[in-house]
């Protein structure tokens, strides 16, 4: 019967569809499959792409995240993020260390440490690294962190000696935190002014738990676990960073199951979206950023004269008192940000809730303004004095939804006490240019901080920071002195008290209104176990994470 049926020739359409189906079926065929404890693929949704993978010349956060899996430090900061002394640091390349006098630190390298090309890691590499980080031709942004180190030498092949110019509480932090040890034998012959663009910077050989596999520009970057890593084989075999142009695309990739991890979700909407996704878990941890409304204390474009409005300390204090910071933080971040008691992120140990701040008191604020002669003489809702309106321009970057939202809420809160705020939304690059040249009235600025307050506060809020990050040009010698005392103190409790006094002085001067210190919330696939996130470097502990075999999904077993 069947044989009697006429066989119709295939139409072009049928042929095309059949070909496509065959192609798709062939596409599903894969070679092999990984089994056991050391399988697993972790895909990071990465906002942006590294600017390279050679540590001394890196500026991007994602570049640092990736290179920290490839290159090791001598020792690393612990989960406590305590930067004073050396007791909270964890050995990495250095298996131990000791102090040889007050200014000399001796590191003993782990003899098992190897470069991924098989060569031993030696003290000569440590000496080479220090020399490179300090070389003007390399132009490393981390060079300033090594300012107090006078020399690094080798005593023998496994002993490196670091000498300091002076004694201070964070000597150990400076010796280990800024430098990732580099392979001298691979970099020595590359001209140092070409390190940023050298081929090694895009395909490095390191000594860390993961080795470089591939980097497809604009698409993704892959690392593979080094099964011979001397501090223990990493459990997760493949790490892949998928590059996305912005946070929303990254979150979509997570929710759609195409990525496993994202370090910061930022907005309450994103957090809710992830929490509503069954395969994702959220991990809150201390944030390393703080934001503030900053007042330019000098006249725009003329740093020799005070700003016509913000040169008046009482006016700034009145504005600070007119702002309900708790309400703003709640509105913008939900429950995921605190109001900082000064210029500090939640990461810093100097966070002290007992710090005195100006209260939220609109009545007092209005009275202060009236006392200073600012009254609404023409009934237009905006105070004025001698024909000048109490009005200023607030500059925020278009790229920051948080700061744009804050600007609108601040505009409304200040309007209620008769202050007019005109918002300038500008490109991030334009904003930085304007604030660096003093061409602004007020700004909303965010800073990402190092684990230590010593460098960040100095750069941004002291006289030494003018011309660097002290865009507001806040100068108070008494504050500077307190900062110096606090950073020089070896007694943590004493230092904390001094920091509090410094912050109280700053709050009274009100060069800025400290608005938010976000708590970071990471999203990570639920199949990942033993997740630990270090607040200063979120993926630093990935080598200890694992995926239990019974929780693995298809992509965990794929062989490359």
């Amino acid at each position: 019967m069947l044989g009697a049926m006429p066989i119709a020739p295939f139409s072009p359409r049928t042929t095309a569809l059949t070909s496509l189906l065959c192609l798709a079926l062939l596409g599903c065929e894969r070679r092999g499959g990984c089994t056991g404890e050391y399988c697993g693929t972790l895909v990071f949704a990465s906002v942006g792409e590294p600017d390279g993978l050679l540590p001394p010349v890196l500026q991007s956060t994602v570049g640092r995240d990736v290179s920290d899996q490839i290159f090791l430090k001598l020792a690393d900061i612990g989960l406590s993020t305590n930067t004073m002394g050396d007791e909270d640091f964890t050995p990495l390349l250095a298996e131990r260390w000791e102090w040889d006098g007050p200014l000399t630190l001796v590191f003993h390298l782990d003899p098992r440490a190897r470069w991924q090309d098989g060569r031993r890691v030696t003290a000569a590499d440590v000496v080479f690294t220090y020399d490179a980080y300090n070389d003007e031709r390399v132009n490393s942004p981390y060079r300033t962190g090594l300012h107090w180190i006078s020399a690094v030498t080798s005593r023998d092949s496994l002993t490196a000696v670091v000498r300091f110019r002076r004694r201070y509480p964070e000597m150990f932090y400076d010796a280990v935190f800024h430098m990732r040890i580099l392979p001298g034998h691979l970099l020595r012959n590359i001209p140092r002014d070409q390190w940023r663009s050298t081929a090694f910077a895009r395909a490095p050989v390191g000594d860390g738990p993961y080795r470089f596999v591939a980097w497809k520009a604009g698409e993704n970057l892959e690392l593979a676990a080094d099964s011979t890593f001397f501090l223990g084989r990493p459990h997760i075999r493949r790490l892949i960073w998928r590059f996305t142009p912005d946070l929303q695309v990254a979150v979509t990739q997570l929710v759609a199951g195409e990525a496993d991890a994202l370090e910061v979700l930022l907005s309450p909407d994103n957090i809710e979206r992830v929490q509503a996704t069954p395969h994702l878990a959220t991990y809150p941890y201390r944030g390393n950023a703080y934001g503030y409304l900053g007042f330019n204390l000098v006249a725009p474009g003329d740093s020799t004269h005070p700003h016509p409005l913000f040169g008046d300390r009482e006016l700034r204090r009145a504005l600070a008192m007119a702002i309900d910071r708790e309400r703003l933080a709640k509105s913008v971040f939900g429950g995921h940000a605190k109001v900082p008691p000064g210029p500090m992120s939640q990461l810093w140990w100097i966070w002290d809730p007992e710090t005195r701040e100006l209260p939220y008191d609109t009545t007092h604020a209005a009275r202060l303004l009236t006392q200073r002669g600012w009254i609404d003489s023409d009934g237009d809702g905006v105070r004025d004095r001698n024909g000048v309106k109490l009005s200023f321009r607030l500059v925020v970057p278009t790229t920051s939804a948080v700061r744009r939202q804050y600007a609108r809420l601040l505009q409304e809160q200040l309007r209620r006490v008769g202050v007019e705020v005109l918002i300038d939304e500008v490109d991030f690059s334009v904003l930085l240019q304007r604030v660096q040249t003093g061409q602004f009235d007020a700004m909303i600025q965010t800073w990402n901080t190092d684990p230590t307050p010593s460098s960040g506060i100095g750069q941004t809020w002291t006289q030494g920071g003018v011309g660097r990050s002290n865009y507001l040009r806040y100068i108070n010698p008494a504050f500077d002195q307190l900062v110096e005392q606090a950073t020089a103190s070896f007694d943590r409790a004493q230092a904390r008290r001094t920091w509090r006094r410094a912050m109280e002085l700053l709050n009274q001067d009100a060069p800025a209104v400290f608005l938010f210190a976000p708590e970071n919330v990471a999203a990570i696939h639920r199949r990942i176990a033993d997740v630990a996130i270090r607040p200063d470097s979120w993926w630093a502990l990935v080598r200890t994470w694992r995926i239990p075999p019974d929780r693995m999904i298809d992509r965990d077993r794929v062989e490359r």
Partner: protein, 324 residues
């Protein structure tokens, strides 16, 4: 024809030169600074100053321009400030991705636009024509990125029929055989190409419908019908050929629109093409990349326009070019 072609190529080169010059001036005169931290991390001004010196940004603008033109004449596009790699390499990675996306979208645009236009014209003022008319008007009116987001949310995130971004699946792609890698690429191409192609197809369909309606009432079409030819042959053979001319014009016009539309589509779908590269370079004030992207894009547009002119002359024997 040869004289006309020489003139046309010379004019095209002049246009590209003008684009390079204007882009150079606009970039350097616009506010903003290239060597600034990508995040909110303080950076030592001395590091910035040394970088500016290294890339010659501390020199006068005319000198920088002269040096840039000199390098360009030697085929050197410089080094990216932000990516720390030769601009030619960055473009070399991005341009093929954009050409694949735009090329596929162009094919989709022409095929779908042509099919719908002819179908509507053949059923003019009946229900299918009216319904398709509203549909194409809607599609023609929506912003490309909005349609992209919609398709992404429905077919990518909710139904998971298609991936939500990228060119390939980074986890499995390298492990697949050749056919699988091709299927993987097509699977990732589907949503971005549909987004870009659908919006263009809607416009094309409306043009093609109008052109067909104009042709379909001509005497020679009536003659073809009177000869007893089947309606399908009348429409597809006799009428369509003459209604194709607006499509050739549209082809030339579509290319720049597709290129500009690709910027947003590439952004939404994390597609590593010219658009995404350029947009990121603009945000970072990465002058060499922006300049090279503008030069490449203007060259492609000029070439597309030239090709359309040549096609137009070939497709319509009534048209004669100057100089012939």
């Amino acid at each position: 024809m040869a004289t006309w072609l020489v003139r046309r190529v010379a004019a095209s080169l002049a246009i590209v030169f003008a684009v390079v010059t204007f882009t150079f001036l606009l970039l350097h005169l616009a506010p903003g600074e290239p060597f600034l931290p990508s995040g909110d991390t303080p950076i030592d001004p001395a590091v910035v100053a040394r970088l500016r010196h290294q890339f010659g940004l501390d020199q006068s603008l005319p000198l920088q321009y002269a040096k840039y033109l000199g390098a360009l004449a030697h085929g050197q596009l410089g080094e990216s400030f932000a990516l720390h790699r030769p601009v030619a390499d960055a473009l070399g990675d991005a341009i093929p991705n954009t050409l694949v996306l735009v090329g596929t979208a162009l094919v989709l645009e022409l095929l779908l636009g042509l099919a719908f236009g002819v179908y509507q014209a053949a059923r003019a003022r009946r229900l299918p024509d009216v319904a398709l008319g509203y549909a194409t008007l809607f599609l023609n009116s929506v912003p490309t990125f909005w349609l992209g987001l919609l398709l992404l949310l429905v077919f990518g995130e909710a139904l998971r029929w298609f991936p939500v971004g990228g060119v390939v699946d980074p986890v499995v792609h390298a492990s697949l055989p050749w056919a699988g890698r091709t299927a993987d690429r097509l699977w990732h191409l589907a949503l971005p190409a549909l987004t870009l192609g659908c919006v263009g197809a809607a416009g094309t369909a409306r043009y093609e419908r109008a052109a067909m309606l104009e042709v379909i009432n001509q005497d020679y079409v009536r003659t073809a019908r009177a000869k007893g030819l089947p309606e399908r042959r009348v429409v597809l053979v006799h009428a369509l050929r003459n209604a194709l001319l607006p499509l050739v014009t549209l082809f030339g016009l579509s290319f720049p629109f597709l290129l500009t539309g690709a910027v947003l589509v590439e952004w939404v779908f994390a597609w590593p093409g010219m658009g995404k590269l350029t947009a990121e370079a603009i945000f970072r004030r990465d002058y060499p990349v922006v300049l090279a992207a503008a030069t490449s894009a203007s060259t492609m547009v000029v070439l597309g326009s030239l090709l359309a002119d040549v096609l137009y002359a070939i497709a319509d024997p009534r048209i004669r070019v100057h100089g012939e």
